[in-house]
């Protein structure tokens, strides 16, 4: 599973999933924290719709962490002040880069979480669509 999809599931899903996955790795592998969870910013490059040009919308606070597992450096980066979660994301990223055997089992867990996120999103869509206006023509 590619990183984009994996991080979407981990960040939009239950925090417990990332915690359990990182814990799997901590039990059996030696990890070195290259960079402790640290606050920083991400500048948001945005395309406006009038002339379709690019500009900077502003910055968002993130927490970033880097962890080494064998020869691979995993990175965890997430919006907000979330040091533990950034560390867990870095461990999981390193595990996928190193292709440790645990990652094969994780795919099923991630897919299951993705289904739940999709269900929640459908429910969100339905909530939003209750506020859709149904116009009726008036007899005048």
């Amino acid at each position: 599973m590619k990183r984009k999809r994996r991080t979407e599931i981990l960040i939009n899903g239950s925090r417990q999933l990332a915690k359990n996955m990182a814990s799997d790795i901590e039990k059996y592998y030696s990890l070195e924290v290259i960079q402790e969870p640290q606050h920083g910013m991400v500048m948001l490059k945005t395309r406006e719709t009038a002339q379709k040009s690019l500009f900077y919308l502003g910055e968002v606070i993130v927490t970033e962490c880097k962890v080494m597992l064998k020869d691979s450096i995993g990175i965890g980066v997430v919006i907000g002040d979330q040091p533990e979660f950034a560390y867990q994301l870095a461990v999981i990223d390193a595990a996928f880069l190193e292709e440790v055997p645990e990652t094969a089992r994780w795919i099923g867990l991630l897919q299951k979480e993705e289904s739940k996120i999709n269900e929640d999103r459908k429910s969100y869509y339905n909530d939003i669509l209750k506020m859709k206006v149904s116009f009726e023509n008036m007899d005048v």
Partner: protein, 374 residues
């Protein structure tokens, strides 16, 4: 007169700072940052937007420290921002990626995808709700439980699988009412890294406008509509929703799927439509629409609309109106710059004022002498 260096006031300043804390807590209770984050959404959105830093929790902390004064809260966040490293620049955020929670058009009733009202005060009567004086956490939890239960029941009956809503602009471009336009991928300039210069690049203008003070941006746009400008705008589309944010791996050269998703940010985005008469072949005149673009952090619709108006003004300079002059607009709407400069007038100006006094006395003496001679 010679200059005299003076010092002193340290004790008085310490007592002043102590008194400031007293003013914040003197009623014997304090407001938790979590409660500010839970209940002051509008103020948080305004502070994040004007400080150009997206963090609901830090904005809440700044609001607490500033006792709810947005000017001071923005100053605190801008100062904090200057201490942090910039880790990444995001991948390009595209408008159609927004997970919409509100979407309306004042130009067309039947827009593709429909009008979705979302959470707004637009349809409230603006009567003070005295029931809120009696609101407790218990009552709030009861209300929430009922709300969620109603939503669940209704969702069992409907099964929407997608909320992809086409942009009104795409519809107008398809109809030929707006000139077609290709993506322009020129790297933007960054006003936080290099000083603003004139004529400003479009990217600089948009960055300054989106971080402008809500009141200043709104006032200037209001002046435009009242006649101190040359525009008759209509809201083409207004959206409130969340954009997903992605960053690339700093070292790998992977494809799109190898990037990091880092979370989402809530914004308000507006396209304002301005009718203009365009001369075509053989002097034939046609009406087309031009677009003003507005966007800001959080839900701040007035500011986003006002930004859209000013964006179009600055795209069409007109010496007759200061609102169409980018130096006038961009140099005066920043919250920290404008409030900082006005506020600095409180600082000691003893030496400069003394020299003005000396000058005033000299002119008086000279005038008196000339009067005696005369």
């Amino acid at each position: 007169m010679g200059y005299v260096a003076v010092k002193g006031g340290t004790k008085a300043i310490e007592e002043s700072i102590k008194r400031l804390k007293y003013e914040r807590v003197h009623k014997g209770s304090t407001i938790e940052v979590e409660k500010i984050e839970a209940g002051l959404r509008g103020l948080i959105d305004q502070v994040m937007s004007e400080s150009s830093l997206y963090s609901e929790s830090l904005a809440s902390l700044a609001i607490k420290q500033a006792e709810g004064n947005p000017e001071e809260a923005v100053f605190l966040l801008r100062a904090y921002r200057s201490t942090l490293p910039r880790k990444h620049v995001s991948r390009v955020i595209e408008s159609e990626q927004m997970l919409v929670e509100r979407r309306i058009s004042a130009s067309f009733k039947d827009i593709p995808g429909g009008q979705i009202l979302g959470a707004t005060t637009d349809y409230t009567q603006r009567l003070l709700d005295f029931n809120l004086l009696e609101e407790t956490e218990e009552k709030v939890k009861e209300w929430l439980a009922q709300f969620h239960s109603e939503q669940m029941e209704a969702n069992e009956e409907s099964h929407t699988t997608d909320l992809t809503i086409p942009k009104v602009l795409d519809y107008l471009r398809g109809e030929g009412l707006i000139a077609p336009c290709e993506n322009n991928d020129q790297e933007p300039r960054d006003v936080t890294r290099e000083s603003l210069d004139f004529p400003a690049a479009r990217s600089q203008r948009l960055q300054v406008l989106t971080r402008g003070q809500t009141g200043a941006v709104t006032s200037l746009a209001y002046a435009v509509i009242r006649g101190y400008g040359a525009l008759h705008p209509t809201v083409g589309e207004l959206r409130v929703g969340s954009f997903p944010v992605y960053v690339d791996h700093p070292l790998e050269d992977g494809d799109d799927e190898d990037g990091f998703y880092i979370g989402s940010i809530k914004t308000t985005e507006v396209e304002m439509l301005m009718p203009v008469t365009v001369e075509k072949e053989l002097g034939k005149k046609e009406i087309e629409f031009e677009i003003g673009y507005g966007i800001c952090f959080g839900q701040n619709e007035t500011k986003a609309i006002a930004m859209g108006i000013l964006d179009h003004c600055l795209e069409n300079p007109d010496p007759a109106y200061p609102s169409h002059n980018e130096e006038f607009v961009l140099y005066h709407i920043d919250a920290v710059e404008s409030t900082g400069f006005i506020s600095h007038l409180k600082m000691p100006h003893y030496v400069t004022f003394q020299s003005k006094l000396d000058a005033a006395r000299k002119t008086k003496t000279t005038a008196e002498k000339e009067e005696v001679r005369g």
